[in-house]
C-alpha cells in the first residue's frame, strides 16, 4: 500500500475579487521508502501541495491520506506520522540547538527516557553534535537547515517533508545538504517528499519526480526515464531572428520549439546532423549541444523554459507582495 495517496487535491485561494487555483486536481501516489520530488517554477503550487499534506492548510476539494490517515479527518494522526522542514527558518534563535530539539521532542510526546538518546543521534547524523550548546542565532544558514532536519526526525516520522531544502544556500553548502539527505535516506529508510525548483537537486536526490506547473502535474516518472523519453540530444541555437520553420521538414528533428530568442531542437544522432542544421539556421549567435536535462523535459511538456525569474518564496509571499503594491 502506498504511504501517501493523493486524489484530485485542489486548493483555491480567494481574495475579494480574485481567485487563484494554486493546486488543480492533483493526484499521485508515493510508496514507502521513495524520495519523491515536486519540481517546478516558483509559484507552481509545490509548497501549497505539501502544506495540505502536512495539514497546515485545508484542501478546497479532493482528498489525500498520509500513512493511512485522512488529512482532513485525522490531522493529529497525520502530524504524528510526518516531519516537516519549512522553507523559512523555524527554529528558535535564542535556544541552543539541543534545546530546540528537546522542545520538539516534548511537543511530540517522545517518551522521556528516549529524548536524550534521540537528540544525540539526530545531532550526530547532521554533524551538529559539537555545536549543540550554542544558541541558534550563531548558526549559519546551512547549519540551521540541518538542525531543522534533525528536528524533523525527533519523533521518528514515517514521512519527511522538505520544502526547498537548499533555497538560499551557497553551492558548497547545497552540496553538503545533499550529502546529509542522502545519508538520511540510507540510514533511516524514511520516505521523503521534497519540493525544489533546482533541476540538479531533483535529478540527484529523487527516485521519482513530478514536474508541476500552474498547479498541475505536467509529467511524473523517474528522472532518467523522463530524460530518455525525449530521445536523442538537444541542440539549442541562439538566433537574432529565431524561426523553427526551416527545421520542421528535417526527418531527424523530433521536436522544434522556440523560447525567447533560442530555438530548441530535439535531434536523433545529433553529431552527424549538426553541420546541416547550422547551415539551415544561417545567422546564429551561439550553439549548444547537450543530452536532455530535466529543463528540456520541462520545456517539452510545459512549452516554455523553466527559469528562476519569479520572486523567491511561495505563493503567500507573492500574494503579500501583490497586496502591498496596491
Amino acid at each position: 500500500m502506498p504511504i501517501i495517496e493523493v486524489k484530485d487535491l485542489t486548493k483555491i485561494f480567494k481574495d475579494k475579487n480574485k481567485e487563484l487555483t494554486a493546486v488543480d486536481h492533483v493526484s499521485f501516489e508515493i510508496n514507502e521508502g521513495e524520495v519523491f520530488g515536486l519540481l517546478g517554477p516558483n509559484g507552481a503550487g509545490k509548497t501549497t501541495t505539501i502544506s495540505m499534506l502536512a495539514t497546515l492548510q485545508k484542501p478546497s476539494s479532493g482528498t489525500a491520506t498520509v500513512n493511512g490517515y485522512d488529512i482532513v479527518k485525522q490531522p493529529a494522526n497525520v502530524r504524528k506520522s510526518i516531519g516537516i522542514v519549512f522553507q523559512e527558518p523555524s527554529s528558535d534563535d535564542l535556544l541552543t540547538g539541543y534545546e530546540n530539539l528537546k522542545l520538539h521532542a516534548l511537543l511530540y510526546g517522545v517518551p522521556g527516557s528516549e529524548v536524550q538518546k534521540r537528540i544525540e543521534e539526530a545531532l550526530r547524523l547532521v554533524d551538529l553534535y559539537d555545536r549543540k550548546d550554542e544558541i541558534v542565532k550563531k548558526y549559519s544558514g546551512g547549519m540551521r537547515r540541518r538542525l531543522e532536519i534533525a528536528r524533523g526526525l525527533m519523533h521518528t516520522p514515517k514521512v519527511l517533508f522538505l520544502d526547498e531544502p537548499t533555497l538560499g544556500l551557497d553551492p558548497q553548502t547545497r552540496e553538503h545538504m545533499w550529502h546529509y539527505i542522502e545519508r538520511l535516506v540510507a540510514e533511516k529508510k524514511i520516505t521523503i517528499i521534497l519540493t525544489t525548483h533546482y533541476m540538479d537537486e531533483a535529478d540527484r536526490l529523487c527516485n521519482r519526480i513530478a514536474i508541476v506547473d500552474k498547479g498541475k502535474i505536467v509529467v511524473m516518472d523517474e528522472p532518467k526515464k523522463l530524460k530518455q523519453g525525449l530521445g536523442g540530444s538537444v541542440i539549442s541555437l541562439k538566433m537574432k531572428q529565431p524561426s523553427i520553420e526551416p527545421f520542421r521538414k528535417l526527418k531527424y528533428v523530433d521536436e522544434a520549439r522556440i523560447a525567447d530568442s533560442t530555438v530548441f531542437l530535439t535531434v536523433k544522432d545529433a553529431n552527424n546532423h549538426l553541420q546541416e542544421i547550422l547551415k539551415l539556421a544561417g545567422d546564429v549567435e551561439s550553439v549548444e549541444l547537450h543530452s536532455p536535462t530535466l529543463n528540456d523535459v520541462f520545456l517539452h511538456y510545459a512549452g516554455r523554459e523553466f527559469r528562476e525569474d519569479s520572486p523567491e518564496g511561495g505563493f503567500f509571499e507573492r500574494m503579500a507582495a501583490a497586496r502591498n503594491r496596491r
Binding site: 516537516i84 519549512f86 523559512e88 523555524s90 527554529s91 535556544l95 511530540y108 510526546g109
Partner: protein, 254 residues
C-alpha cells in the same frame, strides 16, 4: 497517555518562555530600571509636593509602591504578546502550531510563561518593599493571589492581540493605545477618591483598578473598594480573557 503528552507539551512551552526570558538580559534589566526610576524620582518629587500641600501622615512613595508594581506587570504582560508576533515572523510559531499538542495547551503554556515572567519581576521589586515603608508580612504573600489573577488576564490580552497581528509595528501601536489608559485609569498614581464622576466611571471599568486596589489594601491598608469586590472582578476578568484567548488561538491562521 493523551493527558501526559499535553502536559509535557505545556511544560515544554513554559520552559522555553522562561529560558528566553532569562537569556534576554536587556528585557529583565529594562523592566526593573524603569519602575525604580518611577519610585525614586517621580515618587520623591510628588511626595514632596504632597507634604508641601499639608498632607501630613501620608507617604506618597508607600502609596505609589503597589501602583508601580502593577505598572511593571501591566507593561510586561501586554508586551509579552509581541513575542507571538515575532515567533510568527520566524515561522517558529508554525513549528509549535503543527505539533500534535492542542492549541488550548499552547495557549496555557504561553500564559504560564508570561505569568511567571511578570511574577519574577514583581518579586524583584517586592524585595524592596521595606525601603518604601512597607514591612514584610503575610499580607504581601496574599497580595500575590490578586497579582496572579490580574496578570493572568493581562497576559491573555497580550496574547490575544499577538494572535491577531502580523507585524510588530501593528502590535506596538495597539499596545500603546491600551497600556496608558489602563495605567492612568487604574489609580496606580493617584487615589480614586474625590474624582469627577466621568473619570470615576472609567476607572471602575478598568480591571487593573481592582488589582491595584487589592494590593494597596493588603500592603498599605489604603484601598478604597474592598477585597471581595476586587477578587470577584479579577476572577471574572481572568476567566473571560482566558476564554477569549483560547478561542483566538484556536482560530489563528498559520
Amino acid at each position: 497517555m493523551m493527558i501526559m503528552s499535553e502536559l509535557s507539551g505545556l511544560y515544554a512551552i513554559w520552559e522555553r518562555e522562561i529560558r528566553i526570558y532569562f537569556r534576554e538580559k536587556s528585557r529583565l534589566v529594562g523592566s526593573i530600571v524603569s519602575p525604580l526610576l518611577w519610585l525614586f524620582l517621580f515618587g520623591t518629587g510628588m511626595g514632596s509636593a504632597f507634604s508641601g500641600a499639608g498632607a501630613t501622615g501620608f507617604n506618597y512613595q508607600t502609596f505609589l509602591f503597589p501602583g508601580i508594581i502593577t505598572m511593571t506587570v501591566l507593561f510586561t504582560s501586554i508586551f509579552y504578546g509581541a513575542y507571538v508576533v515575532m515567533d510568527k515572523r520566524l515561522d517558529f510559531l508554525k513549528e509549535v502550531l503543527v505539533s500534535p499538542v492542542s492549541r488550548t495547551t499552547i495557549f496555557f503554556g504561553k500564559v504560564l510563561g508570561g505569568v511567571t515572567d511578570a511574577t519574577i519581576q514583581a518579586t524583584i521589586l517586592m524585595v524592596l518593599a521595606p525601603i518604601f515603608g512597607i514591612p514584610f508580612s503575610l499580607n504581601l504573600l496574599f497580595a500575590y493571589v490578586f497579582l496572579f489573577l490580574m496578570v493572568t488576564g493581562l497576559v491573555s490580552i497580550g496574547l490575544i492581540i499577538g494572535s491577531l497581528m502580523d507585524s510588530p509595528e501593528g502590535f506596538s501601536l495597539i499596545m500603546s493605545f491600551l497600556n496608558f489608559p489602563l495605567f492612568f485609569l487604574s489609580g496606580a498614581l493617584f487615589p480614586l477618591t474625590n474624582l469627577p464622576s466621568w473619570l470615576l466611571i472609567f476607572t471602575r471599568l478598568n480591571p487593573v483598578t481592582y488589582g491595584v486596589d487589592a494590593m494597596r489594601q493588603l500592603m498599605t491598608g489604603m484601598g478604597s473598594i474592598g477585597l471581595v469586590t476586587d477578587a470577584v472582578v479579577l476572577v471574572a476578568f481572568a476567566t473571560i480573557m482566558i476564554a477569549v484567548g483560547t478561542w483566538s488561538f484556536a482560530r489563528m491562521k498559520l
